[in-house]
Symmetry: C2
Subunit: 330 residues, 2 copies
């Protein structure tokens, strides 16, 4: 198996990316790793014991560039070049911590979609009080149709079953109230679509239910999913900052904080993005893993693990079958 | 000034509501308080030293009923009766911790809107690391047009200036990225509308910026605002639960928690909804304050304070003037 990694994407690129690739190589020595990016820059960072191929890509797409335009114009960007490796059968997976919109756009454009999928969706692991839930879509599709959300539910179910080994996972719809009458017309339509399947659909979910971990899969549109993800990360960080500020002002609190350090450490570990690696972009014809812009080397290493797993389980074939099955049932 | 309070609305009604009214009476003895609800039920809870009028309302709208239908059908509900007191000049403000959608619907229907306002919006105080920001809309209008969000910005600005005494407050738009190219078409249109005013508009805001408190007013649609509010409440609570669980498992952590108790206490106080009272429903022709369903007596007391303040500052007149001014500038 060959995995292409975008060496130029992310706030800490290329150093953290290359370090992550090096960590992955130690864990999975049989996987062939390809670094995609500006060759001269990569060579400056690479150590002698790292056995990787470098695929030169003369351009870069920055985090703030408009995705569709930059993918069309920058044909030599690391994102375009990397995803075309999959298209041309020269790699089995691509990983990037760069411009998410550009990755989504290039993957859709060059690889196409799995039959039955109308839009790809980003699946993330969302930390809860009971471990993790899956959330889809975290930002690939900010203006979806109701049917896209149904397809997200089905793709996430397949992922939960084949990758996380969870049987008949429960699916809920993120809304502003549990009752059927709550929320915009759009979500009422999605609700009706889910009721009409034999999925383990439990209905609308309120925000507080997503943290209790009572549902395996949270479905929402990409805009709301991205807001929910970032608000929860930021709220947890704000709570920590707030406590830290108070702790600094008092001796007894400082002592208390010292004694609580293991608890804070576990908390950080639990909500730390880098622990779970990247988020699969589900629905495209190929294994694409999207990483947080601030990805550390550990995050990159874990994203590579997610890619290996997705490829070995042939997740895209399972998604195709599940969607065919769903159409037959109608 | 006469303030009508919905005695039947909220998870702890009528006990917490009546207790809150009693606390408010001690703080503001010159304000006349009217309890609206089932007379027999209210009489069971009322103490002798409470000087209130009881306005009988034979029906109740529960939290889960569809707003528009219930307002139309239950003409004798505490929400309908209470808001009609304002319409008929028998009270100057109405406070409810009941079905939010029903309050929004009844207020719009019976009181009408301030000239220049197309939809009312719920304004909340959002706790940040620097105190509070204002967020509008927290859930009154889940399917808004771009122009509604501009009107929300203007109304919140007036509130910040006249009630919170903040000069030239900054306004930001909650989005999934800071860049102009980010987000759905809808928000790009809102962005253009704001740029075309002389408001202190600073552009798109990411979730992490709302917690840093760098902006005075956060504008968003009611669905996203409600999700952001509930996700942040739930995330903060999840962090606290997580720490509590770890603390219970270790003696040193328990000791640490004891020493940190003042810090946790301040945190709770800072994010405790009841500390700031209710959220004004801006844009309707009258002073309407919406409280959290789980409002305690303290929350009700503080909501009454917000109502007094809004009425005394004649906030609706100022909103009308600001919107006229805005139209002139175009």
């Amino acid at each position: 198996m060959r995995i292409a990694v975008d060496a130029m994407g992310g706030d800490q690129a290329p150093a953290a990316i290359i370090e992550g690739v090096s960590l992955a190589q130690k864990e999975s020595p049989n996987v062939e790793l390809l670094l995609v990016g500006k060759k001269q820059v990569i060579l400056d960072y690479i150590s002698n014991d790292l056995k990787v191929s470098i695929i030169d890509a003369k351009e870069e797409i920055s985090m703030s560039e408009p995705p569709a335009v930059s993918v069309r114009k920058k044909k030599e960007s690391s994102i375009n070049v990397g995803i075309n490796l999959l298209k041309n059968g020269k790699a089995e997976a691509f990983i990037s911590a760069g411009n998410t919109g550009a990755v989504v756009c290039a993957a859709t454009l060059f690889l196409g979609l799995i039959p039955g999928v109308e839009r790809p969706g980003i699946l993330i692991l969302f930390p809860t009080l009971k471990g993790f839930s899956l959330l889809i879509d975290a930002g690939a599709n900010i203006d979806p149709k109701p049917m896209h959300l149904l397809q997200y539910g089905i793709m996430a179910k397949v992922y939960a079953e084949f990758i996380l080994k969870k049987k008949n996972p429960s699916i809920g719809l993120l809304n502003i109230g549990e009752e059927e009458t709550k929320g915009p017309e759009f979500l009422k339509e999605v609700h009706r679509l889910f009721l009409d399947t034999d999925l383990n659909y439990i209905g609308n979910l309120e925000a507080k239910q997503i943290f209790s971990g009572e549902v395996d899969i949270i479905v929402c549109d990409g805009f709301v999913g991205n807001i929910a993800l970032k608000v929860s990360e930021s709220a947890a960080m704000a709570v920590a900052d707030f406590l830290k500020r108070h702790i600094m002002n008092s001796f007894s609190a400082r002592l208390g904080a010292m004694l609580l350090r293991p608890a804070f450490y576990s908390l950080r570990k639990e909500i730390d993005y880098s622990e779970y690696g990247g988020a699969p972009l589900l629905g495209v014809n190929g294994v694409i893993i999207i990483c947080h812009g601030s990805s550390s080397s550990k995050a990159i290493k874990n994203a590579i693990k997610v890619a290996i797993n997705s490829y070995q389980q042939n997740i895209n074939r399972e998604i195709k079958l599940a969607l065919e099955q769903e159409v037959k049932l109608r």
